[in-house]
Subunit: 794 residues, 2 copies
């Protein structure tokens, strides 16, 4: 059972707790309490094994294709966390014996996971356990673990098997060749594994420090090896009151590490070097290593991009900290050759692949909070251009058609073709997204636009951004289909964001975003023609420019219906029958509808999986299309009123958008309740929602809902607009964003907005329909609440 209110005093709203153990719902704690540093992701399985555990260790970017008929995925490395503990010969497990005072906690501030309890074995031996664990933000290769055992009653014998176990798989898929194992100096355990297709070498080293009653001791241990496995068995005899501390310090290095290829050292050298490093870490010990890690979190995260909320509900504050924690743990800020998977580094779900989730739901946090990391993530997409071009060519198109799921930048499309069961036929369901969910190319172009506008990073644009926008525009230009009877271009047979509608034509989201993508290319072309014609010539897009311009204006954009302003989600949606959705709108588990209907049937109802058309108002409202009357306040309200009741939020991506739009429309209560739902995707009482991993986009969405929703921060075609509308429970909200390279400290209350610029550089800010130019600090008292989209004074 989860509890978010255990933190007291200084730690209030910093602690995610699990106050009772249940072997039936392990996935929740494992994923929600995942540890990571963007390089390593370590799922928080308990030390002692359980039947339903998922023991995952991922290193970002180490993609591999296990078998020829599978897609590449992020492999599950050898496990170092499992400890097989025996107390007087009895296996230690919380599934039997008696457990008292159980508490497991993730401290978001220090990114340390702890677990404490007393356990009475079936034979009646009382023992106090205290486990600690962190994945260092100071040394990306380091995992620290510590176990304390104290005998509470009788003298006890304690036996601990601990080592490195490469028998693990990704749900049965083995990614690694069996590699060499050794135990150096009776103490340093090393295991090498190499991915079987991408040939990435992984070297794991681990060492134990044994401390008894505060004294570091040299303990004898039995040495063992099995297939893909090497371990030590330590045996101890503890008297009543004796305290055993066992530290386990592990390092992981791979031949894909940034410096590995640079240094070009061979595997043997690599093994020796990593062992040497661990020897040093072993001497430092858990506590010293943890201190450096904790300082890194303070400096890199909490001093840099904290959000503080004064609220009636401490949970809101905790959820925002949780979002910042997770976003830090998942982001490969150290390496621009890798992205963020849909389940971050916390589970095997979606195989570590990057979706539009990154650009539309996660990237905004980094653009506003850590522009360097944002650039790194966008550079990953730039590196993906060859794969995207290949996908376009394979499909008979020009330009760059980004893969729906991306892993190795050069690989292009890696979406699997077959999915879950079709409950009607009993066969596997075909996954069409990799073939026809095409909006992602425009989503990436939007992200480039957003990044450029907020950061002003010209260097990125010149080296990557323009090319990405031009290439995706090229794709759309070739993708459009001319319908001479209607004298218009159309986009048929696609899936929009609403994946409950497959093989639709003229999905509004797709068409509008394609239009935006081409129009953006036109603008960039024209801008470069003025500002940097030399660079423009290199792109050789003169003909393309004419094509973008001509075709964009002839692209069919579904219009708001005259009678009710509803924009048809696609050519057929509004003609489909409605069904009673009450059951699904009130569902406690997502995708309940699949228990009653298969994909083909769901395709035939007016039911929407997730924000689709509504996204246009949020996204394009930030662009040069903001004043398009098809995106006006009235149209937005009409569409929200139409689509919200038909949207099941069966994708975790959905809620944040609805929060933002609801807030924009003044639907404060609804906005806040949707925000809580968004927080509860991972932090809610449902214990099985995060089994496959946390919902990275939803977590990005928590931040978005707070900053873009309640704080009303919004890009408006190059201008910063801030129209706060705090929930009534919130009294104060403080956070920082980066705007054009300068940090702006923003403080919002129910009555006023205060902005303080770090560098005293002039900033234009729109708020309450007025435009202000500020240098140092500005403070605005709200007179009344106005919709954001009211026209502004320039």
């Amino acid at each position: 059972m989860m509890d978010y209110s255990q933190g007291q005093g200084e730690l209030a709203n910093w602690i995610v707790s699990e106050t009772a153990f249940s072997a039936d719902t392990l996935g929740k704690g494992e994923a929600v309490m995942v540890l990571g540093n963007g390089y390593i992701g370590l799922r928080s399985a308990a030390e002692e094994p359980y039947i339903k555990e998922k023991r995952n260790l991922f290193i970002n970017g180490t993609f591999n294709k296990s078998q020829k008929n599978e897609v590449t995925e992020l492999p599950n490395l050898a496990d170092v966390t499992q400890l097989d503990i025996r107390i007087d010969g009895e296996r230690f497990s919380l599934e039997f014996g008696e457990t008292k005072n159980y508490i497991r906690q993730l401290n978001l501030k220090t990114a340390e996971l702890t677990r404490m309890f007393e356990w009475v074995s079936p034979k009646g031996k009382g023992v106090r356990f205290h486990f600690k664990r962190f994945v260092s933000l100071d040394n990306l290769h380091l995992i620290g673990m510590k176990m304390e055992i104290e005998s509470l009653t009788d003298p006890i014998d304690v036996s601990v098997e601990s080592g490195i176990n490469a028998q693990v798989t990704n749900s049965g898929a083995q990614h690694f060749l069996e590699g060499e194992r050794r135990i150096a100096e009776n103490r340093f355990i090393q295991l090498v594994q190499t991915t079987n297709e991408s040939s990435i070498d992984v070297v794991l080293n681990t060492v134990h420090n044994i401390i008894i009653n505060g004294e570091k001791v040299t303990a004898h241990a039995d040495k063992d090896m099995d297939r893909r496995k090497v371990w030590l068995t330590h045996d101890f005899s503890l008297r009543r009151g004796d305290k055993l501390e066992m530290e386990k310090l592990t390092t992981v290095h791979t031949s894909r590490d940034g410096n590995a290829s640079a240094e070009g050292c061979d595997l043997q050298g690599f093994r020796e070097q990593s062992l040497k490093e661990l020897r040093q870490r072993a001497d430092e010990g858990y506590d010293a290593l943890f201190l450096s890690h904790k300082q890194a979190w303070q400096e890199k995260v909490w001093d840099a991009c904290n959000i503080k909320i004064e609220s009636d509900s401490g949970f809101d504050q905790l959820a925002l900290r949780f979002a910042l924690y997770q976003l830090t743990a998942m982001a490969p800020a150290h390496d621009d050759r890798m992205g963020i998977g849909a389940k971050a580094l916390s589970g095997e779900g979606y195989k570590g692949h990057s979706f539009w989730d990154t650009e539309i739901f996660i990237l905004p946090f980094f653009i506003y909070s850590n522009p360097a990391a944002a650039r790194s993530l966008l550079t990953y997409r730039y590196r993906g251009l060859p794969g995207a071009r290949q996908k376009a060519a394979d499909n008979g198109y020009a330009g760059a058609m980004y893969p729906w799921e991306m892993a190795w930048p050069s690989d292009g499309e890696v979406t699997p073709v077959w999915g879950d069961i079709d409950i009607v036929t009993g066969d596997q369901t075909k996954i069409w997204s990799g073939f026809i969910e095409q909006h992602i190319s425009a989503d990436i172009a939007f992200a480039v636009y957003q990044y450029e506008n907020i950061t002003g990073d010209r260097d990125f644009m010149e080296h990557c951004g323009y090319e990405m926008v031009f290439s995706t525009a090229d794709f759309w230009a070739s993708r459009l289909e001319w319908h001479s009877d209607r004298r218009t271009y159309m986009i048929t047979d696609v899936i929009g964001p609403d994946e409950y509608k497959e093989h639709v034509s003229n999905n509004a989201y797709t068409n509008y975003m394609a239009y935006f993508n081409m129009k953006l290319a036109v603008r960039y072309y024209e801008k470069l023609k003025d500002e940097n014609p030399e660079l423009l010539r290199k792109f050789e897009v003169d003909n393309a420019y004419r094509e973008w311009r001509a075709k964009a204006d002839l692209l069919y954009l579904p219009q708001p219906r005259k009678e009710d302003y509803v924009i048809p989600q696609d050519d057929t949606y509004l003609q489909l029958p409605d069904i009673d959705l009450t059951k699904y709108k009130n569902q406690t588990k997502v995708r309940t509808i699949y228990r009653n209907y298969n994909a083909e049937q769901i395709n035939g109802f007016q039911v929407t999986k997730q924000a689709d058309t509504l996204l246009l108002f949020y996204l394009l409202g930030q662009t040069f299309l903001q004043d398009d009357e098809r995106l006006s306040e009235a149209v937005k309200r009409a569409n929200f009123n139409y689509y919200e009741p038909r949207t099941l939020h069966d994708s975790s991506l959905s809620l944040a958008t609805h929060v933002i739009i609801a807030n924009d429309l003044g639907e404060k209560e609804l906005a806040y309740s949707l925000f809580r739902k968004a927080c509860e995707v991972d932090l809610g009482p449902q214990m099985d929602t995060s089994d496959d991993g946390v919902h990275a986009a939803s977590i990005g969405g928590i931040w978005k809902a707070a900053v873009f929703g309640f704080a009303g921060v919004r890009l408006a075609d190059g201008v910063l607009r801030i129209n706060p509308r705090l929930p009534k429970h919130w009294h104060r909200m403080q956070f920082s964003i980066f705007w054009q390279g300068q940090a702006l400290a923003i403080e919002i209350t129910q009555k006023a907005l205060k902005v303080t610029a770090s560098d005293n550089r002039s900033v234009i800010i729109e708020t309450g329909g007025m435009t202000y130019e500020m240098e140092d600090t500005m403070e605005v008292q709200f007179r009344e609440i106005r919709p954001h989209s009211s026209s502004t004074v320039r």
Copy 2:
């Protein structure tokens, strides 16, 4: 805890029981109670999962190489045995709650595994469980399971997840591509898997029959799929006294099945056909299918090759039945393209590879009991000639050098190169057997000789046998090294049967067996020259014949020392220091010595892993070399007295040979105690000896120890010799053997030997130093006990 005395009345000494459950020692019951029919091997893991379980399903001969740097092995197929059971929402497991009246039994007579107990859940719900399982000997593709659940107290909800799970591996090595899954007609679950290197398709189908209070019902079930997994969830509500029966019937077919390639049907056809077959089986139901299976065991096994013992100890009778049970379960009598693995089909140990274990320890049972199966096993070796020739060529030799470990006949050597930890260096130990343990080629030649002499099967000799003997003789002729200083051929740098001595020269066993092999080739040549010169010409071995003859006579054969008749095991053994072996001779776990010394150190002591030199007396005593004075009674005794104290029996192959020799020498007490030890390799109180699987050669050795040892049956160069010497605890022993195509019923008491021939064909039998010719029945009263090897009157 194992108990072998639970069978009562008609079932006395037929029942292997486990009377208490322990999650710490699952391997014992899983392996010892394995179910099989020579095609399927199904390790007996419990239905409900446990942390330390090994859930194995093997199909003989479906070898695959999981990764490029591993050797081929027998892959672990998808699991069908696991049932995830919940009682009122609580997971069912014997690790918690309260278990009463637990008993698990393997009925050797009917080859059915049953498990019964009452369980009170932690919440206090009382339930009676009764599980049954068999692997059909009537239909090789069929696995039958049945579960009965009865509520003893309150009404309860029962939930059962059951399906096919291909997430399993061989200790981390995944052999299969992810395959298609489906659930046809809401009921028939099908999963396809294909080995990733050898491209063998496997189709598993499973179906459930639900019977409530005796009525077959149509039950709704939820359908689910995950990666490599497909299953149904059934939910039931039982009132007090209600009885739920759930049958699960599974079929397995592979594209390597004998008829599969013959019919040449495609995978799709294969899938439809196997599903159709299961539809019929589903209608028959567990009980009817079990009846056909039980009848097959009676007819094919117990009516054909039973051994009956009247003894003070029922355990001896049970152990012999256990041996026959296991030998039947492991032998691929249906297909001569496959062999028997060192752990049979009961575990992942030794990867399903065939060693000399088959020819020297297992084959004798089949030669005497089921000559067709023996021929099938030898044909597998005949099919291995191309691989053996390749190995010879790769090593610069002529002829056929059989691989130390064999899987696919064409592959040649498949011994892995790296093994367990070297406790001194901490690195992996190199396994040298695949390079230099070469006696197997002569062992196979011996097996051909033995098979020919006992069966008189000329057809086999002409199609396979002669070529095998000539080709292995060719190998030895090329293998011998001429030492001109000593004017002799030697064989240096080998491993003999005693694997504790690596890189030795002139291992007595190897040299004598090579000598035998070449001499045998000479004899066959000369015989064929007389009897079938046309066939002989086809072999083109005239030059080879001269070489065999010349070289054999110049091969150095270590002579008994003049002073004590001890034959040096190799050139250096007798010069090595002795160490105190008391600790290891009294060990409860084999290979304890490795806890103190590494391979290099053990190489330097007079310590022997297993019967080595002593094997010569047993093997060559059956051949035309029986009268060689180097193998005389006195030499045999001297060598037994020297080597027995130095032999740790750290290989399960060792004991049977020592039983036979001890019995030959009149050491009846020692022989009997070694026999009990041999039975206890798998059936003993040590609970972890069989974790990797049962010891196939040791099981063959139980039969050998009884029939060759106590009953004194022995081939003597074409003649049947029977010199019984029953242990004093044994009052009567009855069994049948095949001799020259005729069944001989043999009955032995402490006082007399009676032989009855089934076909009234004349048989020559030597016993008590006399030679008898019998047609119908003969009965001989023993006057006194004589050593077997005394000279006989012809």
